[in-house]
Symmetry: C2
Subunit: 66 residues, 2 copies
Amino acid sequence: MKNKIKIHRAIHNLTQEELANKICVSRQTINTMESGKYIPSTALSLKMAKLFGVTVEELFQLERGD
Amino acid sequence: MKNKIKIHRAIHNLTQEELANKICVSRQTINTMESGKYIPSTALSLKMAKLFGVTVEELFQLERGD
DNA sequence: ACTTTATGTAAAATATACTTTACATAATGA
DNA sequence: TCATTATGTAAAGTATATTTTACATAAAGT
């Protein structure tokens, strides 16, 4: 799974902590998600996509292997 | 989280087991997901949405509270 | 009546998401 | 130079997703 969280966070000019607060998770969840260390729940990806005004598909992309 | 898995599964005329095989999870994962007992990973929802030819947003909807 | 197919459900085990706490670093401004 | 802000990272703990196995039921066909 690749993701564009960092990009959309930059577009919206949010720190990791601000984004974390907006979707009610810890900063580390954002940090580790951003660096692709785990795959978030559908609830989280829906919340982020909604916040950024994009689809989940725009924010997260499957790679061969997952 | 509400979902429309059962509906799209019906549209594509797949049993729970067939769907499970197609996205490489157990039948119980489909069954419990369908009945809303837990929120799947983003990888799973992306795979299902792709298979059904819809967006994750069409397949899963946030409710107040999650 | 019997078998098969699809589904619901449940309990125990395992894998993984997510939290909390903490420390390190680089950049910025007082 | 000191304090602050944003980020990276890591370890331990908790919550939850997912698997495996198993049993029950209803529907459909023989």
